[in-house]
Amino acid sequence: MSTVDQAKNAAAFIDDKTHERHLDQLLWMLRTKRDDAARRVPEWEQLRDLASKIKEHTLSNLAHYLEMFESRAKANGVTVHWAQDAHEHNQIVYQILSDRKADSLVKSKSMLTEECDTRRFLENRGIQVTETDLGERIQQLDDESPSHIVGPAWHKTTQDVANLFARVYGSDKNKADPVYLAHVMREHTRPLIEQAKAGMTGANFAVAETGAVVTVTNEGNADLSANAPALRICSVGLEKIIPTNEHLAVFIRLLTRSATGMAITQYTSHFRAPRQNGEMHIILVDNGRSSRLGMEKFWPSLKCIRCAACMNTCPVYRRSGGLSYGSTYMGPIGIIMMPTFDIRRYSELPFSSTLNGSCTNVCPVKINIHEQIYAWREVMEEKHQFKLVKKEAMIVAGKVLSHPRLYRMAADSMETSLKVLPRFALYNHFNAWGRHRDIPQPAKETFHDWYKKYRSQAAGQEVSR
């Protein structure tokens, strides 16, 4: 597959001012609410530190905890499967369903099943799959991937959803009201949940001590999907393991506050054993995780608890929308995870960042996201994944920035150009910065000029003393 050009994909989203503004405002509101929620917890920074250390301990001892989880889950009556990659995972799911003649599946949102493209795999084999999370269902009906890992359809306006539901369900497209639209979804989805032969969920956490998988939802759809049908499948990425319930408490306190600013989700659900007269399967999925664990600079990305705080704070993500990344995981966390899946296809993603470090500052498990983004740029250069134009530009920039005189000449000529050149000459095809915003006004004097003046004055004062 060809390299994803995030900047090019984002251009279309940015051109549509309505959507750009809508997403930017919505995500910044969530970022603000996250800050308020964090401030209300005096031990917030201590919790972040603990969460980071618990994850690092678990990942450094992962084989032990995986085996502990497996043995406890089996003792609880759960069937545990292991999948090396997406295809194996999907095959296992299909086998479980087809062996039991289950031709309809309701599932709650799971980024792992997005990663494995499980829905398409099952649908191609005649299984009816219904997403029960509202946002995920919107994206399913619109045949789009999720654009955000918490709110899959947040790039859409309420009117977009009203239009979609009018087209699919025949509802009133003039009623662009979230309450009305949530009712429409409930009416159409609940019967499918009631009739489904099997249910499927992901897992936010898997507790080694108890063998339980934990899901966190606002809608209760994981509880419906897991409890209504007697057959239940749960897909778990290897990195979701944590040692005990005592540790789970730390993550539950951080997760929702980081994601939306709420203290907790309406449903925090712990599934330890099959329901009465039911059957429960857990699939432990590697799909590149064990390899990433061995990457010296990049293994800490496995600490991620999928809160999306890094996405909500990222100025590039907020303005360009999640679909522009052309990947399962998007935004800052996507940038550092996706190249481990396909380095060529996602070689451009590490450049979709301003490296401002805000992502690292809000991360509840203290992943050094912006440092990893920079490190990925170095990898791309080493692996010759730079585009020729970018490479040439970097060579020129490297020369200019490493020679002070050359740099000052460039800065002076740029300043003069900005002052004298007409608009059409400045905003040309080669000016990527100016495509969607105005070039900043040049400063009256450069820092260098100011410093020279200040230093000479200071030197003069020194002499006169």
Binding site: L30, Q46, D49, I54, E56, H57, S60, N61, L62, L66, E88, L134, I138, G151, A153, W154, T157, T158, P178, L181, A182, H183, M185, R190, I193, T210, A212, N218, E219, G220, D223, L224, N227, A228, A230, L238, N245, E246, L248, A249, I252, R253, T260, M262, A263, I264, Q266, Y267, T268, S269, H270, R272, P274, R275, Q276, D286, S291, L293, G294, W299
Partner: protein, 200 residues
């Protein structure tokens, strides 16, 4: 080698050098907190409602609050209702329940959450498929925070444990939480001390 062995071998080969597991301190407020007040405040944030005293006439209370309710499924001795979880043969049939009445063994002040398991629900779907839910909670069973909550034996022993914090909602359209989503449309907690005789 099986998939399991291959995966575990890769993990063993690649896992980073050993890191210590930190001790989790007891996080408790330095000030004396009114746990009931905090619980009410937090649950309200998530659109749940709290009635702070047991109604004198519970039947009348339910009639006023849910005038159209016909199927009332009760698991508590305080009210008989006209359905029992055991009446449900197919678990998804719980969608025909208008109101579920159930007692929770634990409340969490920090988040306004109440705890359930198959012990309280008997059929798990009565708590999520019902149109509305009314929860009896002994205010003496409210703990300060999530750390305290996870000390409850349900999380170790039960097949299904649920911390429920308000009626189902969704912020998936335009980021503002609206109700209902797929689960219960309203959630009411009544502070109702457990009678000494039934408190084991």
């Amino acid at each position: 080698m099986s998939f399991r062995e291959t995966i575990l071998q890769n993990v063993r080969n690649n896992q980073p050098s050993y890191r210590e597991l930190p001790a989790i301190p007891k996080f408790h407020s330095e000030q004396l907190l009114d746990l009931k007040e905090k619980f009410v405040e937090e649950l309200k944030e998530l659109s749940g409602e709290v009635v702070t005293e047991p109604p004198i006439d519970f039947e009348k209370f339910l009639r006023n609050r849910f005038p159209d309710a016909k199927a009332i499924c009760s698991t508590v001795p305080e009210y008989a209702g006209n359905r029992k979880p055991e009446d449900i043969t197919r678990w998804s049939d719980a969608s025909s329940i208008d109101v579920t009445i159930v007692r929770s063994p634990l409340g969490v002040a920090e988040t306004g959450s109440v705890l359930f398991s198959e012990e309280e629900f008997r059929v798990n779907t009565i708590g999520v498929f019902a149109h509305d839910i009314v929860i009896l909670l002994d205010p003496a069973e409210i703990v300060e925070n999530i750390h305290d909550a996870y000390g409850h034996p349900h999380f170790r022993d039960k097949a299904y444990s649920l911390l429920m914090s308000g009626p189902s909602g969704s912020a998936d359209i335009a980021g503002t939480t609206v109700h209902p989503a797929q689960g219960v449309t309203t959630l009411t907690v009544i502070f109702w001390p457990m009678a000494a005789a039934t408190k084991v």
